[in-house]
Amino acid sequence: MLRLCILLFKRETRLLFRRPMELANPLVFFALVISLFPLAIGPESRLLATIAPGVVWVAALLAVLLSLDGLFRSDYEDGSLEQWVLAPQPLSLLVLIKVLAHWLCSGLALVLLSPLLGLMLGLPERTLGVLLLSLLLGTPVLSLLGAVGAALTVGLKRGGLLLALLILPLYIPVLILGSGALQASLQGLPTAGYLWWLASLMVLAVSLAPLAIAAGLKISVAE
């Protein structure tokens, strides 16, 4: 079973890296959206730093959502999903590994890019650690929740907008906790509470979302 998981992980990363544009697009989107704010609001760094937590998190949220639209689409079209549904291995385990591989290739890059963009928005250096940590805990939740929506909308011709409508409301708790942590750190308040909440959300998503994703895929394949 472990051997199969490693094989699947290798296969997924190989597939992602053979289509690098799809990995790069959400990252470029993330950087572009954030860099639009200094241009639109003006370079006054006090104001920018005040709105930075919200800006970074909303941009991250949209970038993750953008990257997830096609998560299962090619698997659906070329028949791979049917093979997965009919495989003796539990589907939820297979999709967990797929989402994990996807997050490591796209979400993690976004997390690593964020301090640079945070500096651009005038965030003080002492808050960058919290920014990094909150995104590190939060983006896996965004990926897993988004994958539930992607699984449900994969059979639809234009599922992209529906995916956003379905999933964005579910992103609200992560958004509140993530930007809250950053806000608190900006004001010099303790952030541990927010981060623990994010961590527990992540554990919850890792353990429960795969079951929902698997159920969604089974419904989509049965259509």
Partner: protein, 223 residues
């Protein structure tokens, strides 16, 4: 009486896959109803019927990809819903889209697909590819292959160790005359070794008429 019940049990275990009063409905149209048939090990069953008569739907119901509108499918005498993992272990499904990734090479594709069941060594995969006439195409990305060649990559799975029950949806599509003949031979050999095949095709099989059975969906009875 004891003898009789023993005999009855023997018959039940002998039947690999059985459909009882199966009905299928798509978009409020009844495609077929009260469909009864059984497939024993060593049998080849060809499902016939005009376009839209529900051939693919029937195969999807048999594979457990789609729920039936009525009736049930039994594997070794028990309903497939109660033994999904057993069905997954015994069934090889090749749909319209055979689950081949265009970005991966033939060898990578087959390596993953066989790993879902028994797994196959590199030599076995190369031999299987040679058997379907793809020697020299082992490490070419599949999207550069022609439609017929991609079909053959999917069919190479039939030359690798794996489940005994094959459900094939239009396996002859896009194949040339020699490949069709070779595949027919291979299916017959598989049945001779105790395997079972259920397939749909519009093309008349060039096999002795007594070596396979036909199920005409417009008549609803196996003959």
């Amino acid at each position: 009486m004891g003898e009789l019940s023993k005999l009855a049990r023997y018959r039940v275990t002998e039947t690999l896959l059985e459909a009882r009063d199966l009905a299928c409905e798509r978009d409020l149209r009844l495609l077929f109803a009260q469909l009864n048939f059984a497939v024993q090990p060593g049998e080849l069953l060809q499902v016939l019927g005009p376009n839209g008569s529900g051939k693919t739907s029937l195969l999807r119901i048999l594979a457990g990809l789609m729920p039936a509108a009525g009736g049930q499918v039994l594997l070794n005498g028990r309903a497939i819903e109660t033994q999904r993992s057993e069905l997954a272990r015994q069934l090889l499904w090749l749909g319209h889209a055979p689950g081949i990734k265009g970005l991966l090479s033939a060898e990578e594709n087959l390596g993953w697909l066989t790993a879902l069941h028994e797994g196959a060594s590199r030599e076995q995969i190369w031999q299987a590819l040679a058997a379907v006439g793809l020697r020299g195409f082992e490490d070419v990305p599949c999207h550069t292959l022609s439609a017929g060649q991609q079909r053959r990559v999917g069919l190479a799975r039939l030359h690798l160790p794996g489940p005994k029950l094959w459900i094939l949806d239009e396996p002859f599509t896009a194949l040339d005359v020699q490949a069709v003949a070779a595949l027919e031979q291979h299916l017959q050999q598989h049945c001779a070794h105790g395997g079972a095949v259920i397939l749909t095709t519009h093309h008349p099989l060039a096999l002795p008429a007594d070596s396979y059975r036909r199920l005409d969906l417009t008549q609803g009875a196996a003959c």
